[in-house]
């Protein structure tokens, strides 16, 4: 990275701090680790509740309703109450279910999301672990999610659940390809697999606009494919309520249902955050090449706020989609992936390679 990035933005992750502290004191290192784990766990719980509340409120106003209004000011504690209710609810495991897998499935789903969260650079100082193959890691561990869904659907011993799980399996695996192709475009641009470096590589401008349209196509591809991966409308066919009652989690109740539910919302955050990191510069402020004055003004806003703002906008966009569109049919979904997104993705990847090869984007840094 050349001089555009200043060293104050050099990300220092919790894992690094732990590693640095280790020679001095084991307890310090352990403290950092506990901080990381507890931090992520608390973050998930709070974020999940926040997102659910936001979704309900936003959905309400999209639909000329008010949303939750009863618990606390404007229903602000509604999700807390709901969480409490879900925790206290009876956990029903169907008699004919494969009990072990039935219990395991929601844990897998949640695990996938937690592991991804650990590598997300949310700001230079809030970053649990900076893996040098971050992009590959994200692609790999998010597969836990589909494993959980498939297990859940299969172990429920319910044909509706199984249908939902099979739909989810087909859908998530198909769309993973497009998402990866779009991701590769960014990897090509930034020349690194490390997420923090991808962020830093956008110091001269976000990838979405710096590559003559290639970036925006990749952004759209990634966003659409990710929507499909997290089963949000218009791609919510695995749990399409009007078709499969609740799809793969039909037979789940209480806490285990809450796990699926939580994972769904955290996934939404992860998709938004990843998209922001890859294409919208993550915590990087809005910079235009060498315009130092403009860039300095943008730098006044702290990076954490930038990240939050971008993510929040994308989350809102996802919700907006959900409360506007009908859902696709199974075969249309597959057609969209294999006949539309995938060819575009390949063409875009080649175009990106050409752009990188000739150093053709705005404000080339190398």
């Amino acid at each position: 990275m050349t001089g555009i990035t200043e060293n104050i933005w050099q990300a220092k992750t919790v894992a690094q701090r732990a590693a640095e502290a280790l020679p001095e004191s084991v307890w310090f290192a352990l403290g950092y680790m506990v901080l990381g784990v507890v931090g992520v766990a608390a973050f998930i719980a709070v974020l999940g509740m926040g997102l659910i509340y936001a979704e309900r409120k936003i959905a309400g106003h999209f639909q000329c309703r008010l949303g939750p209004m009863r618990v606390g000011w404007h229903g602000i504690f509604q999700t807390v109450a709901d969480t409490l209710k879900l925790l206290l609810k009876e956990d029903v495991v169907p008699a004919q279910a494969d009990k072990f897998l039935h219990i395991l499935a929601p844990l897998f789903t949640l695990l996938g999301t937690i592991l991804v969260l650990a590598v997300l650079p949310m700001s230079p100082i809030v970053h649990v672990s900076d893996v040098n193959i971050g992009v590959v890691y994200v692609g790999a561990v998010s597969g836990f999610g589909v494993l959980g869904i498939l297990l859940g659907g299969w172990s429920s011993n319910n044909k509706w659940s199984l249908l939902g799980a099979m739909r989810a399996g087909a859908q998530i695996i198909s769309y993973e390809i497009s998402a990866t192709l779009a991701l590769l475009v960014v990897v090509l641009f930034s020349g690194t697999l490390r997420l923090s470096e991808i962020v830093e590589s956008q110091a001269a401008g976000w990838w979405i606009w710096r590559a003559h349209g290639v970036g925006i196509v990749a952004f759209l591809l990634f966003f659409i494919a990710s929507l499909a991966e997290i089963n949000r409308t218009p791609f919510d066919i695995p749990e399409g309520e009007s078709e499969l009652t609740a799809g793969f989690h039909t037979e789940y109740s209480g806490m285990r249902f809450a796990f699926f539910f939580l994972a769904e919302f955290i996934n939404m955050f992860i998709v938004a955050a990843l998209t922001a990191t890859l294409f919208l510069g993550g915590w990087m402020p809005f910079h235009i090449g060498d315009f130092a004055g403009f860039n300095a003004i943008m730098d006044m806003i702290p990076p954490g706020l930038w990240f939050t703002g971008k993510t929040a906008f994308l989350v809102f966009l996802i919700m907006w989609f959900r409360w506007t569109f009908p859902r696709l049919r199974v075969d249309q979904l597959m057609r969209l992936e294999w006949k539309v997104l995938l060819p575009i993705g390949f063409a875009n990847l080649i175009a990106a390679a050409v752009v990188v090869l000739f150093n053709f984007y705005f404000f080339p840094v190398r």
């Binding site: 106003h61 639909q63 000329c64 209004m69 409360w323 506007t324």
Partner: protein, 239 residues
């Protein structure tokens, strides 16, 4: 994409409107018109998000003070009592006969003084009532009306069977002819909501078990305290 709003008049048959056909175009036109249609839809929903004044939710029960039911709303059958607490029911039982599902039971008695037939109890079964309004319509004296007080929920469906008239005795018109106030008093006997042959008073009805008689006092007119039907049944059996 063809705009669905285009009306395509069919020239062959007059007075007919034919649905427009959805046409397919080339790949790129499909993609772009498709994206455009999605954005238009998003504009509609965003309009409502950005205009909180379009919210139609009513915050019940907070808005109780301002919530007004329409005057004709049919929620509760009531017997009209005038300012002196007198009704005009003669106990003719036309409503009783016209009720489609026997939700009205008009019990008559002969007056202790004059010996004439008159209303004893007007028992209404709200639980089986369909609010068809026939009783109100057929009443030749305009005794009944449907009231808009819709908050009728109770914890025990036996509380849905109750008496409408406030007193047993002759109708207002007949009573007016009796000059002597002492005589009048003798002719009337007060009736409360949960007295007579209702489950709360130890009577069984079709499909409704009786409540223990001792409990009827505590329920009074408000209802609600007899929520545990199983419990009261159990205590009855123990006796």
């Amino acid at each position: 994409m063809m705009q669905a709003t285009d009306k395509q008049e069919n020239p062959t048959r007059s007075g007919l409107v034919t649905a427009p056909e959805l046409k397919r175009h080339g790949f790129f036109r499909n993609v772009f018109s498709g994206i455009k249609s999605l954005l238009e839809g998003m504009k509609v929903t965003f309009h409502y998000l950005s205009h909180p004044s379009t919210v139609v939710t009513q915050q019940y029960p907070e808005n109780r003070a301002t919530l007004k039911m329409m005057e004709r709303y049919r929620a509760l059958l009531t017997m009209i009592h005038d300012e002196n607490g007198l009704h005009k029911c003669t106990g003719c039982q036309i409503c009783h006969d016209n009720c489609p599902n026997a939700s009205i039971n008009v019990v008559t008695r002969s007056n202790p003084v004059s010996g004439k037939k008159e209303l004893d109890r007007y028992i209404w079964r709200m639980d089986s009532c369909t609010f068809c309004n026939l009783c109100v319509q057929v009443c030749p004296f305009g005794v009944l009306k449907m009231d808009g007080s819709f908050e009728g929920a109770v914890y025990d469906r036996r509380l849905f069977v109750f008496t409408l008239n406030h007193y047993a005795g002759p109708a207002a018109g007949l009573l007016a002819k009796v000059a002597d106030p002492e005589e009048r008093k003798k002719m009337i006997e007060p009736r409360d909501r949960y007295s007579g042959p209702v489950p709360l008073n130890g009577q069984e009805l079709a499909g409704v078990k009786a409540l223990k008689k001792a409990e009827s006092g505590c329920c009074g007119g408000s209802g609600g305290c007899c929520s545990d039907s199983q419990g009261s049944q159990g205590s009855k059996e123990m006796k």
